[in-house]
Subunit: 383 residues, 2 copies
């Protein structure tokens, strides 16, 4: 399937639309133009040798009188699984570590301060199978697992904050969680953020494996800014983004795994809406490729049993609080998106649009408290 | 300015992109294809004679076993002001009544059941001037004003629900409000919905004229479905859409007045995100054209005093709960968008995606109640 997949919306528009229409179309679709970032030739060369796409953009802010600019760089990484899904578990994990290692090295060349990987990045997205074995073997301790140790080494080596979304096993209770581990650029585990909303749709049988997260809306204060992690299906829930923002998040990462037939037209909408509504940056990351599983499974849609989940369409992007966004990475290739942002833009947009002040949140708190009661009487007027 | 305005995104894509790329681009941008609706030739001819764009589309749903289809048609109307803004107030209002009258007649030919006009449709969007006179003279009683009476006649004549957003004067207290009057197809005033969120941005000096609405999140049960009205700037507030949905809204109208330089890249995002997140239909309506005012005014942006607000870019559209949307009306012309929708689609999408069940609203009610306190302690983890 991958071979004939459409590569990217942006490429198609740029190939066919003449000026000045292209400029108007891009303005309406993507907002104020996001300028390209000059990346070092060694990084460009390494990305090419290692066969992944490398793109860089920057969002600027107005220079203020009292605050210096707060320019930082984030890196978003999307990738295929490296080995067949029936290879030994340890080989699959090691293969992913190697791949991420060589991509993060390029991120370091590009001056990335905070890197985020895709959802459950060490494994195939095998929850479609509803098989517990061998997939639960991919689960690791958030604090002491091999993958966390691997990321701690990367963080120290490159002075980089690492957001590492994994399948977590809490060993004390033998519970599984879908969790992002946040590792400081010092190499210390700063904490973890568990997936708040768990899908029950299509092949996303994750509710068979783990429950709704219990870490609330934690924000991590790093040296490079306050960050939060809204994992995958949480992007469909505006309240989830909102509550991270209410806790002070300046950048909200959305590591995901989602397929074209289900969600693709929603992908450019949701993270971007969240950036606008919450005056913050959002970073949407999706895996790429089609993953094949040895045993066939059905999808609850009346169709024949089959061996894959469909095509994960990549298209990772960053959205800014001013309604603009970067182009997406490819729908088909591994990629690293490097984005420089001046975090002062958040407060500038908040001062401009004032959604936090005009939001009437105290009234919503009261209304919502009433609305969640089983005996809630909705406000419906009839003739 | 209007003369050189770009006409529409959709037209540009269709003119230049070859197949099969056009199909892929449209799928990613707009979701599942929205089929064209056959409109009666008399309507097409009347629209052409009366010089406005007429477009029709339909959203389908799966035929269920136990529920019959619930197909209804909504009409969205966008238009210029008819007379110069310094014409006598009564002439301006009458001119608008005439224009809307001839457009609604075409909506009736197209079988529209519920029609919605643009924000404060009887007047220029004069709040940029910060002058009270003569603009406050456009304000009318929601229950007994001439415009409401005019709409009641339309409603009875065409058996059509009319959503009429006006500048309201509550005569008892001499207070002004930005209000949508909802008139049943029987001709009775069903109620009113006041604008919940008032902007303080750019030339949107509405907070000089009226306060935040006090009608909460009322939903109107009409013969054709449960509807709500989220006026203009409320579309930037996800909680506003959400609370209308929590009260049972199946269609949420968003009558607006907004200009290109400020909001255009956000326009295709916000109402569409709301349709997805809330499993309902949303209808975004924006006025068209550039309105000139006799007295110059400044815009708080360091630029010279000037006489217009900028170009209102039209582009009215309907978004469906499955992530798809209609193309937009023109950026430059008056228009009527007729959309047939099977309201069964809402529940079908809710059963598929289950956001209301996976939303954890009780926990958000608690978190939000804490977060709105002045002494709220955000959940921030530091090293």
């Amino acid at each position: 399937m991958s071979a004939c997949e459409f590569e990217s919306l942006e490429k198609s528009l740029e190939s066919h639309l003449p000026e000045p229409e292209l400029t108007e179309v891009k303005r309406i679709l993507f907002g104020k133009e996001t300028k390209k970032l000059d990346l070092p030739p060694c990084a460009v060369e390494a990305a090419s040798e290692r066969d992944f796409e490398l793109k860089g953009y920057r969002f600027e802010a107005t220079q203020e009188q009292l605050r210096p600019a707060r320019k930082i760089r984030v890196g978003l990484i999307q990738h295929h699984v490296v080995l067949p899904t029936d290879a030994p578990v340890i080989d699959q994990i090691n293969g992913m570590h190697n791949r991420i290692g060589e991509m993060v090295e390029v991120a370091a060349m590009c001056g990335v301060n905070i890197v985020c990987f895709q959802e459950t990045w060490t494994m195939p997205f095998a929850f479609c199978t509803r098989e517990k074995e061998p997939w639960t073997e991919f689960a690791e301790s958030a604090e002491e697992g091999n993958t966390t140790r691997f990321c701690q080494e990367l963080a120290k080596k490159y002075n980089m904050v690492v957001v590492s979304p994994i399948l977590e096993r809490e060993e004390l209770h033998n519970t599984l969680w879908n969790t992002a581990v946040v590792i400081s650029n010092s190499g210390n585990v700063l904490g973890k953020s568990r997936k708040n909303h768990i899908p029950r749709i299509g092949d996303f049988n994750e509710s068979t494996y783990y429950m709704e997260g219990d870490t609330g809306h934690t924000v991590f204060q790093t040296q490079f800014g306050k960050i939060a992690v809204n994992i995958c299906y949480g992007r469909h829930h505006p309240l989830n983004w909102f509550m991270y923002s209410m806790n002070g998040a300046e950048i909200i990462f959305n590591p995901s795994a989602t397929v074209g037939a289900l969600s693709e037209p929603m992908w450019p909408i949701e993270a971007r809406n969240a950036a606008i509504a919450n005056h913050c940056f959002t970073c949407a990351i999706n895996r790429v490729g089609t993953e094949n599983f040895k045993n066939e499974f059905t999808s609850g849609d009346g169709k024949k049993a089959h061996h894959d989940f469909g095509h994960f369409y990549g298209s990772s992007y960053v959205a800014a609080p001013d309604g603009s966004r970067t182009p997406g990475l490819s729908r088909t290739r591994d990629g690293l998106l490097v984005v420089e942002m001046d975090l002062n833009l958040n407060r500038q947009l908040s001062d401009k649009w004032s959604f936090k002040m005009t939001g009437r949140y105290a009234e919503y708190a009261e209304e919502l408290t009433k609305a969640v009661r089983h005996d809630f009487k909705p406000n419906i007027v009839k003739e």
